[in-house]
Symmetry: C2
Subunit: 269 residues, 2 copies
Amino acid sequence: MTDQRQRHPRPDRALARAVEASKAPAISRAAAVLRLLGKSDAPLGLQSIARDLGLVPSTCLHVLRALVAEEFVSIDPDTKRYSLEAGVLTLARHWLRRNRFTDLAQPVLDRIGQSFDVTVLGVHIVGLDHLIVVAVSQSGQNFQLSTQVGSRFPALISATGRCIAAFGDHSEAELEARFRTLRWDEPPTFDDWRVQVSQTRVQGFAVDAGNYISGVTVVAAPVWKTPGKLSHALVAIGIGSALKRRGLPALQDALVPAARTLSNQLCGE
Amino acid sequence: MTDQRQRHPRPDRALARAVEASKAPAISRAAAVLRLLGKSDAPLGLQSIARDLGLVPSTCLHVLRALVAEEFVSIDPDTKRYSLEAGVLTLARHWLRRNRFTDLAQPVLDRIGQSFDVTVLGVHIVGLDHLIVVAVSQSGQNFQLSTQVGSRFPALISATGRCIAAFGDHSEAELEARFRTLRWDEPPTFDDWRVQVSQTRVQGFAVDAGNYISGVTVVAAPVWKTPGKLSHALVAIGIGSALKRRGLPALQDALVPAARTLSNQLCGE
DNA sequence: GACCGCCATTCGATATATGAAATAGCGTTC
DNA sequence: GAACGCTATTTCATATATCGAATGGCGGTC
């Protein structure tokens, strides 16, 4: 469900590039360490971290010590194993505190989720690379469709992806390159997908009928924080068969105006 | 260097020390930037950040660019103002996902919160410096006593502080030094406090009857993840008068065994 | 009980991140 | 419309963070 790139075999090449380019490489390394610790199920030792990221152990140690000092990482003094520390929660709280989208979206998500018995997400579109779930309303019944705040997904996947392709202004070439990297349960062809994107542009919302996950229908409606630059979306996720019975059109008719209202509220101020 | 200090009354001195000591100063700077952006209500410009933290603008720019590249910070391309980005949420989610304390504590908090109509927190004790709220159960009624996951408090404040003083093994001198820096609504004398700490050690839990916040009673019970090293606590917060009526003893009798059970679950693995 | 292997950690030379000053952009004022 | 004050940004010498090798420590094995 999450995007977990399994890139263990070889030391992180993306990190190498980031370090090369940046004038503060220690920060890229620190970020890589945090993400690695985040992905890992168990605390990790210095060597293991250094190996995975292709870092020199001594440098890695410096990074870890700095992160420990800043309370983003904790070290077990006995085993010398490192893991994420609660300090990261504090940052997240601050982000949530000053984020109008989450505040405004939450009641809307809850209302739609309850009415249609679907899981509804508010997502933040970071770029063409991926999006982040920033608000969730889990309907009581559907425990199968579980997602958490903070989850990352490839930007162009599923219904949201069609919205991003339709309303963000990205070059066709770039879109296709990205599209080729996606993994779907039942992948559409690029041509099919382009047609669906065009349709999305016309009708103002997107539907993914089982492409991303078989049997699961996803509806996404775009939200703008500033006119012209697509930044968020509302996403409803439900079992395809259930939605067919209980009215996909009605769900669309709830989601789209909600997204529009949110856009107005966000732009207005 | 010196005249910089004079011009800007409070360029973060703690940061200066951290940078001095660390072998990865960029990371300390990055953390300081993240925290500053977290605290700030509005996006900040480069100069403003550099001034507040006592950083050279060019260095600060490098830090910010690295943080933007890592998606912990976003920049508004028009105004060149920086703010926290949703990437910090992803780290927080990973922390929460692999944290057994929050998982185990949440249902317990909810049960106690509902039974006694109090706000109940699970806190993670980072050290003598502070603790972090990692789980919350907000009872329906008490909107006054609002706290969020990720909030930080001084470690020795209120009832939790008495637990930490009682069960963490810290030197008397250190405790007193820290104690002197605390701010209470109705501060106890150090001697009073020491007596209360002794009492806490004996009875296995602590009560703060309006010292921290006037009229608010706080009960805290210690939780150990590893024997000997106090790491967490359960904290119940309620209006003093209401608790008096509805049985503070009963609340204690619920909280303390719950904390003990949690300790066993966490230690047992 | 001494060896071995693996790990975290220290140490010193060197590539490089940093900081002061210079430059470039941008909105405001006169 | 030019000049000002403010901002972000680039430049480039130098203090310093980084790297690789050497050290120290711990647990397991024979």
